[in-house]
């Protein structure tokens, strides 16, 4: 599956990317909102892993843009803050499909990514 990881911490971004690449996914990286939006244009991602806080702001606009640029993409929101402790992001930001709180164990991430891949395959498009 084609995955975009938007995470400003390069090391964490690399960890996720390495792990997901090892699992056989095509992974691209972005470190801020602008580069994320650049990358989203016409690439046909199946999944976007989005950090909540980015250097140039809160990443929810990226989620909204994803809905437009890649309507099929699922979005996992990662957050280290206590802003959405109970999954409220799914209400406040309708484009967000799941939310994981940092630190995210790799097995949890893999489980969710596999679930999203299965979900994408089962859809008619």
């Amino acid at each position: 599956m084609k995955i975009l990881i938007v995470e400003d911490d390069h090391v964490l971004c690399d960890v996720f990317a390495t792990s997901l690449r090892d699992a056989g996914h095509e992974v691209h990286k972005a470190f801020d909102i602008n580069s994320a939006i650049d990358r989203l244009r016409g690439r046909g991602y199946g999944l976007v892993i989005l950090d909540y806080y980015l250097p140039d702001g809160i990443s929810l606009p990226v989620a909204e843009y994803t809905c437009v640029a890649c309507p099929d993409a699922r979005i996992i929101l990662l957050t280290g803050s206590g802003v959405f402790p109970n999954g409220e992001a799914s209400i406040l930001a309708p484009c967000v499909d799941w939310m994981l709180r940092k630190p995210v164990p790799l097995e949890d991430l893999h489980a969710l990514v596999d679930y999203a891949a299965l979900d994408a395959e089962s859809r008619p498009s």
């Binding site: 960890v15 950090d51 280290g80 206590g82 802003v83 109970n86 630190p103 790799l106």
Partner: protein, 559 residues
């Protein structure tokens, strides 16, 4: 009113009374003087009226004397003339003709003694003397006050000599009854009430002629009239004004004037005092107002200061909150990277020894994460930056979430633990709680339970409790080693863990339960601990979170 004020008022009143009294005294003297003058005038006028009356009456009888000018008159002639005269002048007792030998010759009225033939020598010294004087001098004479011969009381007699040429032919005498005469004055009596207004005493040459019966008993001031001369005799009158005269001439002007003056003075004093007091009160009020304004200004400044300080505190609190939120993110992200790194290494194709090292690194970073999370939470609690946001939350998904958390923790721990979920009967569909904070507490309790339980089971129980069934009670029960009796009171204290050995074994900061209790308190909830029975270490622990008034509008889950 103060005592001083009362004394001042009394003094002013007394002063006014004294002034009014003095005024009355002076005016009263003047009134008395006026009254006396009035009485004097009346009495003098009365005396003159008396004297003139006698003269008029005597002049009127002179024509009888004229009968004897040519020849001696007869008894009939005399009677006819004199009877008219007596009728005309009431108060004349009798008229007589006395011949030259001073013997009574004619009498009118005829029955009046002394009768014809009585010599004047029998009538007493005064009458005799007066008649002899009249005979000798040829002038009219008066007897003075005498007791009348007929016994009708006091009176006086006037003798008019009759001469024909140089010859003395006799005397005409007129007897006046004093009582009748003074009552029946004919002329110039323009005060018909005199008899009622005054009680009088009339004297001839100091001897009593007439006195009213009540004269001696009258207490009112005596007025002595001027004297009047009647043919060598002094006529004098004393008089007492009677109560009727006093009443008719009553004059209350001194009393009125004094009262008015006193009242006006006192009223003036009161007015002055009122004005004075008003000014004083105004001055006092002004001073009070000024003080109040000062205090107000000071207060306003203080309020401003406090408001500024409060705003600054709020700002600083907000800054703290922002800082902690950011820190949470800033710490979690690199930690996540470290943990991911260890996991990647662990998954790589490396010798077993290195894999174990990576696993240890991962476990340590997990511990570090938990510790940092706790420290951040404590900081947030201490800074007051931890807020409770209650909302209507569906209970069923929430419980499912907790159960999933429990499962996840148990699975990750790799311990052979059974999991149970117990749900009460009347659970509402929605509850009004801060779901995030409650989840945080439940997660912490479950995490604790799993950590301190080696074998057995963990039970999550949710049911309604409280007298009105309006409290949500969440229990986490384990079958771990429990907490010894002597340590139970320290369970919720910060940085406390069962013992060092266990602490090392279980690897916690000892902050979790204290944070849970603090958050529970913030929500107005209770977090309590109890042992399962029997009360032995090893029988496990039960932590109970009781949330109050979670469902104001009651309803069952099945609604």
């Amino acid at each position: 009113m103060t005592r001083k004020g009362q004394i001042n008022l009394l003094t002013a009143f007394a002063l006014c009374a004294v002034i009014a009294g003095l005024t009355w005294f002076v005016l009263d003297k003047q009134r008395e003087l006026r009254f006396r003058e009035l009485a004097q005038t009346e009495s003098d006028f009365r005396l003159r009226a008396l004297a003139r009356d006698v003269k008029v009456r005597v002049n009127a009888i002179r024509h009888i004397a004229a009968l004897w000018r040519k020849s001696d008159a007869s008894s009939d002639e005399f009677t006819a003339e004199t009877q008219d005269y007596i009728d005309q002048f009431p108060g004349i007792r009798s008229v007589r003709f006395i011949d030259e030998t001073l013997v009574v010759k004619f009498v009118t009225p005829a029955d009046q003694p002394p009768a014809t033939g009585v010599p004047l020598t029998a009538l007493g010294a005064r009458q005799l003397r007066a008649s002899e004087l009249a005979r000798d001098s040829g002038e009219i004479t008066l007897s003075g006050a005498v007791d009348l011969y007929d016994g009708s009381g006091r009176g006086f007699v006037v003798y008019i000599p009759i001469r024909r040429g140089e010859d003395f032919r006799g005397l005409v005498s007129v007897a006046f009854n004093a009582e009748e005469w003074q009552r029946e004055l004919l002329l110039l009596d323009d005060n018909p009430h005199f008899g009622n207004d005054f009680s009088i005493r009339i004297e001839f040459d100091g001897s009593l002629l007439y006195a009213d019966t009540d004269f001696a008993t009258m207490g009112s001031p005596q007025v002595v009239s001027e004297t009047d001369q009647l043919w060598g005799h002094t006529l004098r009158m004393q008089s007492h004004p009677t109560p009727s005269f006093v009443k008719a001439n009553r004059d209350i002007s001194p009393e009125v004037a004094a009262l008015l003056l006193g009242t006006l003075l006192f009223a003036g004093y009161l007015q002055f005092m009122l004005l004075h007091r008003g000014n004083q009160a105004e001055a006092r009020a002004d001073a009070g107002n000024a003080r109040l304004r000062q205090v107000n200004e000071a207060l306003a400044l203080e309020v401003d200061d406090r408001r500024r300080a409060e705003a600054a505190a709020r700002q600083s609190q907000a800054a703290t909150s922002r800082f902690l939120t950011t820190m949470s993110h800033e710490i979690r992200t690199p930690l996540n990277a470290i943990m991911g790194m260890f996991q990647l290494i662990e998954a790589a194709d490396i010798p077993e020894r290195h894999r174990k090292q990576a696993a240890a690194g991962y476990a340590s970073s997990q511990r570090l994460f938990r510790g940092l999370t706790n420290v951040l939470e404590v900081s947030r609690l201490d800074a007051g930056a931890l807020t409770i946001v209650e909302d209507h939350i569906e209970l069923e998904p929430l419980i499912a979430n907790w159960h999933a958390t429990l499962e996840g923790i148990v699975i990750r721990s790799g311990k052979p633990l059974d999991m149970h979920l117990e749900l009460g009967d009347a659970l509402p569909k929605t509850v009004h709680i801060d779901a995030g904070r409650v989840t945080q507490i439940v997660t912490n309790l479950v995490d604790n339970a799993v950590r301190f339980t080696a074998t057995g089971s963990i039970t999550l129980a949710v049911h309604m409790a409280g007298r009105s069934g309006n409290s949500l009670e969440i229990e986490v029960r384990d079958t771990g080693e429990g907490i010894p009796e002597e340590r139970r009171h320290t369970v919720f204290q910060r940085f406390y863990q069962l013992d060092n050995g266990l602490a090392r074994q279980h690897q916690g900061s000892g902050l979790g339960l204290s944070i849970c209790r603090d958050i529970a308190r913030l929500m107005g909830a209770n977090l309590t601990h109890s042992d399962r029975k029997p009360l032995d270490v090893g029988s496990g622990s039960t932590f109970t979170l009781r949330l109050h008034s979670v469902h104001p509008r009651r309803g069952a889950l099945s609604e």
